[in-house]
Symmetry: D2
Subunit: 380 residues, 4 copies
């Protein structure tokens, strides 16, 4: 069973990650992980810290002669900047910032100082999640399962969803400073970010992750915690700043009559199933149905804004203004990369559960055999 733990504080010496249950014989390319780490760090709207310290992963175990061994994969990402307290302002001290875990975490863990909380509640830990997700993509690629993620909204500027994009527009995303497929939308987004930065304000938005070539049959309606959509909801909602999740066109659907939202099925000549719509977002009854899995996440604007927010001092019990820590103006493009990683993990987990396989060879063999004998559809 694929599972992972991560450790690491925002200004500690390193992040650690351990991925267990990863099949053997998967070619491991450290550079492809580093590319994903860079995708998380890039994005117009990030603060300078991101640009100075480029994350690079070091794999310390579970790989032999360039392929995975089936043993736990041990990962280290060093914190180059800010080691031991770096830019964490001393005055953060005992005044919890609204919108952060500061207050809740201090009460929970018994601190009157915000630092031991914010060090872990920080989104810094998501760098390791991206590395884990990157390994999961290396497992999915040989099965032709591919992930795509992009930004479909920043502030009140929207950009079209994946299914309305041309191949060319899809390619555009990786070159866009805001992971946006649409030039006009991108321009507006950049302008809003500039404006927000000038004002010391922040912007949220919406990201979309699409998984292509997902076989039907991942997840199960058998129990509440085996449903694929439920697991994806946990994985994506767990990303800092994400406050809402949508599968397919779930929100819009809720306002329409049932007659307008069904994804009818058509038989093709070679007896596979085609649909003209994908309102279900690739999941029916908690099980992947063979269509692309579509997951959208809504990202709140970061709470670290120049406007001084009301709070109080936990030590002296007096009203106080929350400290302003210079921060990112907009992290929506980064959340797209993180959401892709978390969805990749859940899809990979469901794949190893369904197809077993201690080695890539075995997983591929079982996967192909399932598709051949009916999983693809119908011809068996």
């Amino acid at each position: 069973m694929l599972r992972f733990l991560t450790a690491g504080d925002s200004h500690g010496e390193a992040l650690l990650g351990i991925l267990e249950g990863y099949p053997s014989r998967i070619p491991i390319d450290e550079e492809s992980i580093n590319r994903d780490l860079a995708r998380r760090q890039s994005g117009y709207g990030r603060s300078d810290r991101m640009r100075i310290a480029i994350d690079r992963v070091r794999i310390v175990s579970g790989v032999w002669k360039g392929i995975s061994t089936g043993s736990p994969i041990g990962l280290i990402i060093e914190n180059k900047a800010g080691r031991k307290g770096g830019d964490l302002p001393a005055q953060l001290g005992s005044v919890p910032r609204p919108g952060h875990a500061d207050l809740a975490g201090s009460l929970k863990y018994g601190f009157k100082d915000v630092s031991p909380v914010s060090e872990r509640a920080s989104a810094r830990e998501t760098a390791m999640r991206v590395a884990i997700g990157s390994l999961c993509k290396l497992l999915l690629e040989p099965l032709s399962i591919k992930l795509f993620s992009h930004v479909i909204q920043i502030g009140n500027v929207a950009s079209p969803p994946y299914e309305r994009l041309s191949a060319k527009q899809r390619l555009r995303v990786e070159r866009s400073p805001v992971r946006c497929s649409n030039i006009a939308a991108e321009k507006s987004m950049l302008r809003r970010i500039d404006l927000a930065r000038k004002r010391g304000d922040s912007l949220g938005g919406e990201v979309e992750t699409v998984v292509l070539n997902v076989p039907p049959g991942l997840g199960s309606y058998a129990h509440y915690d085996t449903r694929l959509d439920a697991r994806i909801a946990l994985a994506v909602m767990s990303i800092p700043s994400v406050k809402a999740i949508e599968i397919g066109s779930g929100i819009e659907e809720s306002r329409l009559p049932g007659s307008q939202v069904q994804d009818e099925m058509f038989l093709t000549r070679n007896n596979s199933v085609r649909r003209r719509t994908n309102n279900a977002g690739g999941i029916e009854g908690g099980v992947s149905n063979g269509e692309p899995v579509v997951v959208r996440a809504f990202v709140k604007p970061l709470p670290t804004i120049r406007k001084s927010l009301r709070s109080f001092d936990m030590r002296v019990l007096r009203s106080s203004r929350a400290p302003f820590v210079r921060s990112d103006t907009c992290v929506v493009p980064a959340v797209a990369a993180i959401a892709e990683a978390m969805v990749a993990f859940e899809i990979a987990r469901a794949v190893t559960e369904k197809f077993g396989g201690d080695s890539l060879n075995e997983t591929k063999r079982n996967f192909a055999s399932y598709l051949r004998t009916g999983g693809r559809g119908l011809s068996s």
Copy 2:
């Protein structure tokens, strides 16, 4: 650790449920569970089956002289109507219905008949989840943690969220045939449901669950799967027909600048924390912050509509129309009751994790002691 499994097919003889890790010495009132089962079954827009067969739970273990013993609680809900195939039409056979698990489940489990899939993928199993949630509420009540759930949208008719309701309006909900606080909205909803039923159509909507008196400190940012919002997202997304989840005002927030959405903190005279807004929905950094936990779920309209949908026959591989099974027009009020149950489970699970306690006495003692020494806020 609180956990449960359920079993039971839609037209089988009974649903079973087992709840493990439930503290001892909690007074168990079978009738309060039955009331929750009735709330799930009621609601304008349900089909006749609901009215005929009133669900009643039977507790077969884990209770002694009216109180829980700490042993697994065994539950049975008999399927009074429809036993063994009852109203399941024979023609359902081999044509998967769009919007159901039919196709995905048949491919996954290797059937060319839809019945073995639809028997479990059916929302029938949620009756047992409601019973489980009801037991969880019996654990939360002695800690003063209360849940409220209502309908805030059916089709395109909206009704105000909890925080804008008067006490009187809140009380109204339990008497409303659509679990709606607002008379005008209710009227519109009933009309839409009548119209939809006449047309053989269906309606979705949106429900809101609010948890009151949640102590700060449930859940943790320590790992992705310990975050309270993430766990709630899984639990609620796992309800059949739910396709999107929102914590607090997560969707609206994503479009606003950060300066407009923060929940500032104010110190009261007796040194507790007050906020004037709750955009965060009671959860910051994955941890409850002492404000009400607010969860919204978007419900798609049921796919069983009179309009005949295109599909195909899995046996003969020929195009076919999906069978129309007479069904509910609108299940949104029922989903409110189910969402309440699932949220109750996750809150109860987080409570037993944080406060331990093998008996209610112990949990209460630990809970009170936490609040006294700082968990309430700040006075320690």
Copy 3:
């Protein structure tokens, strides 16, 4: 992932069981489960209760037209005798019996009465485990994996282990009143049991479970909780009265030099591996190695003996004698059946993890393909 929960008190109305993650399309024979329930109940040395109330299972879900559907299997075993307090003597009350969970459970769950504890801590719940294990055997049989269990010691009378038995002796076990392969040993055992019963005393012993045709590669050394021997140790140690576990000849081995205990490997003509010894009990490095898996469990004599044991009254805090509840003289043969069930569960769990498979067809196909391409050994 295969998992189960059980519920049910010793004198309650029924035991419930739910098995989740069980593949579809496995032919389910209720009678074969009942036969295993009978094996658990039989055995010279049981009290009369066992003979009066023959356990029979009722499957209420997860089966359709005689085959499993992939949905949770719901099981009910009714408590025919003793319902609601039956032969539980009133005087059991507040005096904990040494050797039972009475004291520890009362303190843990906050009772000053032993009943709510002993109702669940009783070995009665193992009936449901046997039913679960029986279902697991139905999954293993189509893969040719077979289990054998017998008694190799009662009191100080020993009987040879599996590997030294002839085929005929192995067959003998099912007909023996003490599940013993050896006529002479059986005679001695029966005499000791008679003597112990006359004295109001009890006898423990040792059982052995052997799993045949286990493919190499179940379990993993990757993490402590994925090792097959560790998981089996948990599963078997969890049986009431079992106080020690041995894999292969683990105890004897610990006293011998390394040069005398290794299982050397020999290549056969058709390139499979043969060993002349199996000291490792089929597991090397936490992974099955293709040899029979051999698990031994040591069973303590039941603590319910006529000799009155010293204890105290929890209510009045005064010394007291523990009540004598008429009970079984020897449960070792029953433990053999239960150990078989628990080992079957762990082997089945490891099989579904390695080979995946939502349907028996898929599991079989993946299993066969693994054996063909190397898993059998070496010829790929």
Copy 4:
């Protein structure tokens, strides 16, 4: 919930460990962890590798100003000797060694080379388990729960169990080169080890771990996987070379009549419970009963012996002799340290489950309150 993962290959650059669910505010003393690492490495009978490379842990996260923060604790132990292939002989190659995971692991993970298997199946990974266990002891110490571990047998030389030792003999253990309390036994053991080393042979034995001041009520009979003895059995059986586990006097008990093995209870003047025997090893019905928890593990002799063992070459499918890798003669003293760590983990896990507590303060408060109101015994 306390959980951990480890990563790291025998000759890789480092071992990683992540411990999640560890309460905050526990003083963390890196040196006490290093002392436990040294205990694992010492012991007469280890090879030279152990002496050259002294393990030292580096904590990279989860600690702030010397106390734990409640965030995951990240640990690194560098592999000073042998980095990247060091003393792993090239000829190990494709001939699996009997008694190792070599064959089973190669078949499972699809290798025809033993190295990727033996790198992880090696006992090297237990260094990180000892570090994890050491952190668990830091959590248990403030609750007065203490662990003791020693060697009670090497080869066929036995030494008395804990309960028969004087305080002075107990102290002796830490100074003994074989962790043995008895001078005469120690002498014999050293002689056997010398002899075995000379012969290129190896020796196994038996270790005992005792946990003192365990409160009654840890673990539960409610479900098979919540029993404390079952969990300890998994944890200890998962240690490489351990092939049998005994709780209390489980093996001897199995041969005695019930009248001779019960631990009768006596009320003391201040109304606590005393027993004169502890055959149950501190666990009745799967729950700790307040007496010392006693766990014994049987250790097989290492399979790396000079005598050349028969095996075959997986590449060319020809009979071959297994390579002889110079190795430890006797690891029994090291297993004592590892068993102590694994038992510490399981006890700490059960403590955090029962008493909750996100901070040491909270856990201690809840713990004390339980003892006061009945958990100690009886005076409430």
